[in-house]
Symmetry: C2
């Protein structure tokens, strides 16, 4: 099927998707989960073919992400079942006004219509994105990386069978079959067919979408996150938070990439940081963090000499840029210039300085005395996550079901004119 045919078929059923009751949507998701498990065999078969083909050109980490098992399929089904329990984001009246002329105006949440999701090689994104789309009253058109395509096809076939089993149109979930670059490009420019495009993946994918999309697009993911250690920080807390933010999962967007430290506390803090991230980790048999510091840092601890671009790099690795600053104003300015406005933190015992930082730092999530790793739909209590927006328009930070809706005004009168 051509991409345009997929788009047309999906757009044709979006009103049906939008008008389903909460119960109907929950039932649909449970049926999708059951169908996924019932089709374990065919999904594993498709996945084995993907893995076999990909083995020649992708590394072990990527291969592991691609690989499915009966347990992983069961976990995907459980993920869908959890989404089925979440509150319905559609049809909420968030504002009602009765105007002096007697017209009533309601502001009501409604689905976008068709969500397009472009992602890479993790097959679980297929079921996850589809479940979030259906539960928020949207349809979806999915486009996964070519190395996971057969798995995605088998998963989508199962999910569509689940929809059909409860009497809903299978076309509420579509898959782009064109595995060339053109398939993605067509989605990005399908004005009138795609109501919201959400890229999920690495920086290359995201910047391609942001630059080439002519449909509404959410910029997600890239995180150059900072932790600023203020002069009045608790050094032990600072070191503990930075270790967590840097090393608990270095490959994710909410991992910290840069540490700023006040000149006054640097002599006490930097040796403690090095002890925890380098020697301490080596002693535990863990991979140490490479610290890249400016001249002021190198005057206190041995480290790699940093270059300018280290302060603009999302390492996604056991590497951290470190810089000495002269107080909150310089830290805030540095973050303003170098942050991707994802998540930035201050460690301080001074409440006034913390508030100053909170107000002045223009990022999706601003932290005081906690790890940036909490920027996540689950951790924020949204129950799920379609991605983390780093833009300011529409949604910012973790996007849950509510962020997959827009609103409309419903105006009721008895013949009023202006």
């Amino acid at each position: 099927m051509t991409t345009m045919e997929v788009l047309q078929r999906t757009a044709a059923v979006k009103t049906i998707a939008a008008m389903q009751s909460t119960e109907a949507k929950s039932q649909a998701l449970l049926a999708m989960a059951d169908a996924l498990v019932a089709n374990t065999e065919s999904i594993l078969e498709a996945n084995a073919a993907d893995v076999e083909a990909a083995r020649q050109y992708i590394g072990e980490v990527m291969l592991d992400r691609l690989c499915l098992s009966a347990q992983r399929i069961e976990a995907m089904a459980d993920g869908i079942r959890q989404v089925a329990q979440l509150p319905d984001p559609v049809g909420r009246v968030t504002d009602t006004v009765v105007r002096p002329n007697g017209i009533t105006i309601e502001k009501m949440s409604v689905p976008f219509g068709v969500l397009a999701i472009i992602y890479e090689s993790r097959p679980n994104v297929t079921s996850d994105a589809a479940a979030l789309a259906i539960m928020s009253g949207n349809c979806c058109v999915l486009r996964c990386g070519k190395e996971a395509w057969q798995s995605a096809k088998a998963i989508v076939d199962a999910l569509r069978a689940g929809l059909a089993s409860v009497g809903l149109p299978q076309d509420m979930i579509g898959l782009v079959e064109d595995r060339t670059r053109q398939g993605a490009k067509e989605l990005m420019t399908a004005v009138g067919y795609v109501d919201l495009l959400i890229p999920r993946g690495g920086p290359g994918l995201i910047s391609a979408c942001v630059q080439e999309a002519t449909v509404p697009c959410i910029q997600t993911g890239t995180g150059i996150c900072h932790i600023y250690v203020h002069g009045e920080a608790d050094v032990e807390m600072a070191v503990k938070i930075i270790e967590n933010a840097k090393t608990s999962r270095p490959s994710v967007c909410n991992a910290a990439e840069c540490c700023l430290v006040d000149r006054s506390i640097a002599p006490a803090f930097l040796p403690a940081l090095k002890e925890r991230l380098v020697e301490g980790r080596i002693a535990k048999g863990l991979k140490p963090v490479e610290l890249r510091g400016d001249a002021d840092v190198l005057a206190i601890i041995p480290a790699t000499a940093s270059v300018a671009e280290d302060y603009d790099t999302e390492f996604l690795d056991y590497i951290m840029a470190v810089k000495v600053v002269d107080g909150p104003a310089e830290a805030i300015q540095h973050i303003g210039l170098h942050s991707t406005h994802h998540s930035d933190a201050i460690i301080t015992e001074n409440i006034g300085v913390a508030e100053q930082f909170v107000m002045a730092v223009d990022s999706a999530a601003v932290y005081v005395n906690a790890s940036t790793r909490f920027t996540d739909g689950g951790e924020f209590g949204l129950g799920c996550e379609m991605g983390i927006s780093t833009q300011k328009m529409h949604a910012r930070g973790p996007m849950g079901l509510m962020e997959l809706t827009t609103y409309k005004y419903v105006v009721r009168g008895r013949g009023q004119v202006r």
Copy 2:
């Protein structure tokens, strides 16, 4: 000054603008209003030069929009003073969660930063847009049509003097001095300097912005608005609403352009419509509406034969396309295909059909038994309006102060890690 210099100077003060208290912002607006009136003479002088130059190439209606008087300047100042009284949209905590691990997460409204507003020849937009920007904690960079540029410059000079008089940076309000097409283009592509672009003007300006902007942009304005007269409509109410929606101000985006009528009621309704919009208006010495109907319409009343494109045209004139449909499903389908998703209405006494229409029509404002002309920030009770969004991302419908803000998450802990 080059456009890039204007952008850099504005961006440099956005944190200051964002951190002003409600009172400071109100005071700034009152000072801006006073400065506007105090500079009446220089503004009128600049405006006279604009009018003189423009007289050669623009028509009377446009010339009237361009023309200022002491009274109009006073009205502009009053407009600013009204905005100064509105509730502050910044710093509202719309959600607070305390997570099981003890971190607290607040969702807080914050300004975008720098708003860019590209508009045409109405000088009052200059003061209006600047006031809305400052009150919502934003800075603004304005770019007006070349025929109003001298007026805009004089107005901006006055507004900047007002800011300075209360100790705020004048650069919170910037004006693009490059009057060529390049000036607008630079604004549309100033990634990192412009946080939100809002075009205010005709379809040409808006589509240029939507197509060429690489900064976040709100699609505003174009309105192909429908009124569907259901078989169970009150004919008198329908005719009254359509007359208002079509003729009270045909040049605006919330004016109705197309009337759909059920086959069952067409024989009763169409003659009444023609009587009201054509003969009735002629008898009152008013301009009659040209009705353009399909074959079914022409079988009932004399009218111009419509062509396909009449159903996709924003006439902005005393012209209305009319079409007979076979019930709500066809009406909803027609609106889905031909509406610009601005404002669409149903006239019916049947509550069930009304609800069906409300749910299925995917427009910013959906009306039951009222005129589409109410889609307006003032009429909706927002107190002001920066424009009417016809997109689904971020804001939909009239944009007031709240829609000029985004939000951030503020996370506070005591050393929590994940």
